[in-house]
């Protein structure tokens, strides 16, 4: 795969289980870019958590509403945007309530597994942007 920027768009139903489609696509792209298997597994888990969060809390499991996953191939990194249609007026990292602690765990897992993550709320819905580098940041800078 050339280093030229390439973008892959996926639209998956807000139905638990379909996050596996995004996980499979990310694996294919990351493999072609030369990511190690450990990094690919980290990326897949982070994408799964972001997608299920978007399905459950953004789109309220309304199967007619799609979660958009955008994979952007950069020279030394793969950026992944997960977009939902949730109308959440809050900006930044979502607040975790007592009844859905596993959501907080999912966000914690994402933070641990990718190199950069940013949550944002836009008029058209919520977005998580994750970036994973071919070489983990601390190793690349060592």
């Amino acid at each position: 795969m050339s280093s030229e920027k390439r973008i892959i768009h996926l639209h998956i139903p807000s139905e638990l289980g379909y996050e596996k489609v995004a996980m499979g696509a990310a694996r294919s792209v990351a493999q072609a870019m030369g990511f190690s298997n450990d990094r690919i597994l980290d990326l897949q888990t982070a994408i799964a958590e972001a997608c299920t969060n978007a399905m459950e809390h953004g789109n309220r499991l309304n199967a007619a509403q799609r979660v958009e996953v955008v994979l952007t191939v950069e020279e030394n990194a793969l950026a992944v945007d997960v977009n939902d249609k949730g109308k959440n007026p809050q900006f930044g990292e979502p607040e975790i309530r007592e009844h859905d602690k596993h959501r907080g765990m999912g966000m914690y897992i994402i933070k641990q597994l990718v190199d950069e993550v940013q949550w944002s709320a836009k008029p058209q819905g919520g977005q998580v942007r994750m970036v994973i580098y071919l070489e983990p940041k601390e190793e690349a800078g060592a």
Binding site: E15, K20, D38, L41, T52, H102, M105, G106
Partner: protein
């Protein structure tokens, strides 16, 4: 799309084993709790949760495992976790599950630990 979890409760002299096959996600919650209750009712101290045939676990599934861990402690029973691959062992350690349940690569290693004389 999600592979429904199947469970089998297996009785050994020293422990009760719950074999898991499929995905451990929010869909697995009821089945996991039911299987744990069945295993727990046997009354042995050790219950082994065997993930060797599980390929996908998410945070909702881990939350269920944590809930079962709490149930086991409340009944003075001990949960041992076996068969996780390297990636999910890392995740279980990351979220703190390993502080409350020992993780073993294989069932044999868990049984060897149970057989050790108490120090």
């Amino acid at each position: 799309m999600s592979e429904e979890l199947q469970t089998t409760v297996r009785e050994l002299p020293e422990a009760t084993v719950i074999d898991l096959v499929g995905d451990v996600t929010s869909f697995a919650d009821a089945r996991l709790h039911t299987s744990f209750d069945t295993a727990s009712a046997r009354g042995l101290k050790y219950i082994i949760l065997n993930f060797a045939a599980v390929e996908y676990i998410n945070s909702a599934g881990i939350a269920t495992v944590i809930s079962i861990l709490a149930d086991a402690r409340g009944r003075a029973q001990q949960l041992l976790i076996v068969g996780l691959n390297d990636h999910y062992r890392k995740i279980f350690r990351m979220v703190g599950v390993a502080r409350y349940a020992e993780l073993f690569e294989t069932e044999q290693q868990a049984l060897a630990k149970i057989a050790e004389p108490a120090s």
